[in-house]
């Protein structure tokens, strides 16, 4: 086919925007703590819920949350899914388990991987602990926690997990 007769079916118009995120207040304190291997949350003065990562406010009550709370790196699985399809951005052996984990002393589950056990063994109520990256690799990022793994503690019954949502 001659060039002038070839159809244009798609074009690529690359876009690049550069942003400088200003870590402020709660964001900055959380990122500083995690770069030192610690987790910090904030307690709502009104409903007493503890949020980790904190945002400086309670989304339920609409008030500021100045009180800091140290958060453990152990927790309980509140729900999970087993991934059996590959993803371009995730270099993990299939199948793997992604779970919501309610950290001890916190009232808001975070999302993380569960490893060091068959994905099929993960269950709601299972106790897990964080496995951190080597200290020399720590930075201001959630990636410092590589994954969670099961610990030898009795499962927590659903009704004892607390009023998280």
């Amino acid at each position: 086919m001659s060039e002038e007769k070839s159809e244009v079916k798609a074009i690529v118009t690359p876009t690049k925007l550069v942003y400088q995120f200003s870590a402020i207040g709660s964001h900055a304190e959380f990122l500083k703590a995690i770069s030192e291997g610690k987790l910090v949350g904030e307690r709502c003065p009104s409903c007493k819920k503890v949020y980790c990562p904190p945002r400086g406010i309670c989304p339920r009550c609409g008030v500021e949350t100045p009180e800091k709370v140290d958060i453990d790196d152990k927790g309980t699985v509140t729900t999970y899914c087993i991934v059996r399809v590959p993803s371009e951005n995730i270099d993990l052996k299939l199948p793997y388990c992604a779970a919501n984990i309610l950290l001890d002393r916190s009232d808001m589950p975070i999302m993380a991987l569960i490893q060091e056990c068959p994905a099929e063994d993960v269950r709601i109520g299972m106790r897990v602990e964080a496995i951190w990256a080597p200290e020399e690799d720590w930075g201001p990022t959630m990636e410092n926690i590589r994954y969670f793994r099961p610990i030898d503690e009795p499962d927590v019954p659903t009704e004892e997990m607390g009023d998280w949502y």
Binding site: L17, I24, G56, R60
Partner: protein
């Protein structure tokens, strides 16, 4: 039509870079302040609408994250416009007209300091044939200014006079960002930024947030000082700048006619560039006795997605202070005054 009034207005101080508070904390402060001043209990607010753009700070779903600043529990009726907060107020006004609610909160926020605003605003353009040319928002405004100046009726001096007056007026506005006494001659002797625009013809980059509470007449609490929305209308022109006569603003003219923009004491015009204020004044047929932008306008503080709603709030502040009885507030969106909203406000 139901009579609807603005009950309260709150805004953050406008700054080049907000370094103390996150967006959510900014939203929390203005929403709490506006609701308190309204005299309505928070639980009585029937509808909430926000205006913002996730492109500004580069955070996807930042507009949903901002709801955390509302204390939206039990779950609330809420909506969002990827527009200036003035259009959020318009949607809230419509909701009251439909009878769906009697009171509403509109708020907006913008934290442009995290990105490169002139380049970010390129994202408003057609992404296939115009956007990839890389034109930024200041160059777009410069194309408009050149066409307008070359008609022969206007001068760069008039533009500088707009900048001087705006920043002088802003001296009386504690929330304004860029204020002071400047001299026209000195400004004109500065080099061009993007010819024919000097730096003084352009708005500052601003972080900030604001909020208003509105209510139908039968829901205005006793003791309130309502400012009535006598007319409100918005009109849009084609997206491609080449389709438009950039030297005029027919959408503003029509919106002004529909909103009943006559017998005005003041006009708060959302003109980010000096020549745009003069185009808007022509379109609205504003006499010389109408005071323009007593707050300093967008040349004194231009928080993206916020500055239009701020015009309504600043017009209210003039009315509440007894310095005006009837005011026009204008908001714009898009490049080169593409879309325009006109609101006529009147004291009780």
């Amino acid at each position: 039509m139901r009579d609807v009034a603005i009950l309260s207005f709150a805004q953050t101080p406008y700054k080049r870079r907000e370094s103390e508070r996150t967006e959510v904390q900014m939203v929390l402060s203005v929403v709490t302040d506006a609701v308190e001043k309204s005299g309505l209990p928070k639980s009585d607010i029937g509808f909430t609408c926000s205006g913002s753009s996730d492109y500004l700070a580069g955070q996807s779903f930042a507009f949903v994250g901002a709801i955390d600043g509302l204390g939206a529990w039990p779950p609330i009726a809420e909506s969002h416009v990827e527009m200036d907060g003035a259009w959020a107020l318009y949607e809230a006004w419509i909701k009251i007209q439909t009878g769906m609610c009697n009171t509403a909160l509109a708020f907006s926020f913008g934290r442009a300091s995290m990105g490169s605003l002139p380049e970010t605003l390129n994202m408003q353009l057609d992404p296939y044939t115009l956007g990839p040319l890389g034109i930024d928002s200041i160059s777009m405004a410069a194309l408009q200014a050149r066409a307008w100046l070359d008609q022969g009726n206007h001068t760069e001096r008039q533009m500088a006079e707009v900048a001087v007056r705006s920043r002088k007026n802003a001296l009386n506005n504690p929330d304004a960002q860029l204020k002071g006494d400047f001299e026209v001659e000195k400004l004109l002797s500065e080099p061009y930024l993007i010819e024919p625009l000097h730096k003084h013809d352009c708005p500052p980059i601003t972080d900030g947030a604001n909020a208003v509470v509105i209510a139908a007449a039968d829901a205005v609490p006793s003791g309130a000082n309502p400012v009535w929305i006598r007319g409100i209308d918005h009109r849009i022109e084609p997206h491609q700048p080449g389709f438009r006569d950039l030297t005029q603003s027919p959408s503003t003219k029509l919106a002004g006619e529909k909103a009943g923009a006559t017998r005005l004491d003041i006009a708060e015009l959302h003109a980010p560039f000096t020549h745009q204020e003069l185009i808007l004044r022509d379109a609205l047929g504003l006499d010389d006795d109408v005071r323009i932008n007593p707050s300093g306008g967008a040349l004194a503080a231009n928080p993206m997605m916020v500055a239009g709603l701020t015009r309504m709030g600043e017009a209210c502040r003039e009315i509440w202070a007894g310095r005006a009885k009837r005011a026009l507030a204008h908001a714009t969106s898009g490049h080169c005054l593409q879309q325009n909203l006109v609101c006529v406000l009147e004291g009780d």
